[in-house]
């Protein structure tokens, strides 16, 4: 069935390092993918999205890569800061308007 999952439940990095968070998906029908950041006690916050016809998209300090051949996407955070510490989720959606399907999340811990 449909699923969107992340490879690792936790990732610890030093401040200033680059972080890479990975996600594998099984539903080839997804038209777009979104990365969300969720801080403790808050709802998920949109970071960046990518359409399925793209393989790379850049934002401010973040880059999302999509590899449809192996059904994998990643979120790269440059110069990771303590404020980036949170749980990161990938989610898949389609233009038919059906619900987003979220993976389980990766907890990013940034130490100074």
């Amino acid at each position: 069935g449909e699923s969107v999952g992340l490879h690792l439940p936790t990732l610890s990095v030093q401040e200033g390092d680059n972080s890479i968070i990975n996600c594998a998906y099984s539903n080839s029908a997804s038209d777009y993918f979104i990365w969300y950041k969720q801080e403790s006690g808050k709802g998920p916050q949109f970071i960046i999205d990518i359409r399925s016809n793209m393989d790379k998209r850049q934002g401010q300090r973040v880059t999302v890569l999509l590899n449809k051949t192996v059904k994998h996407l990643s979120l790269q955070i440059a110069a990771t800061q303590p404020g980036d510490s949170a749980v990161y989720f990938c989610a898949g959606g389609n233009q038919a308007g059906t619900a987003l399907i979220f993976g389980k999340g990766t907890t990013l811990s940034v130490s100074s």
Partner: protein, 119 residues
Amino acid sequence: EAGVAQSPRYKIIEKRQSVAFWCNPISGHATLYWYQQILGQGPKLLIQFQNNGVVDDSQLPKDRFSAERLKGVDSTLKIQPAKLEDSAVYLCASSLHLAGGLGGYNEQFFGPGTRLTVL
């Protein structure tokens, strides 16, 4: 602009009791979603409204969960009776249009959630 509002923020009840959550979406947002987020997992959709109509409630446990959005603005989610496994954070989100309905992604804005503990 004001974000998605939810209340209460926390609720503790005993099993078999009833509970209700309230959500006020961003003004003008036609689509409203209720998600359940169990500890350590990603959010899972319970129900999706377009204005006051239900778009998707396929994952809503209808024997105990109900939701309404009578005037197409705010919404309530009810659990009656609650079970231990209902302990979770209940997130409300809204988007301007139905996700992807205009040929692209319509960002969903999430509220802070209601943390429910069933004892």
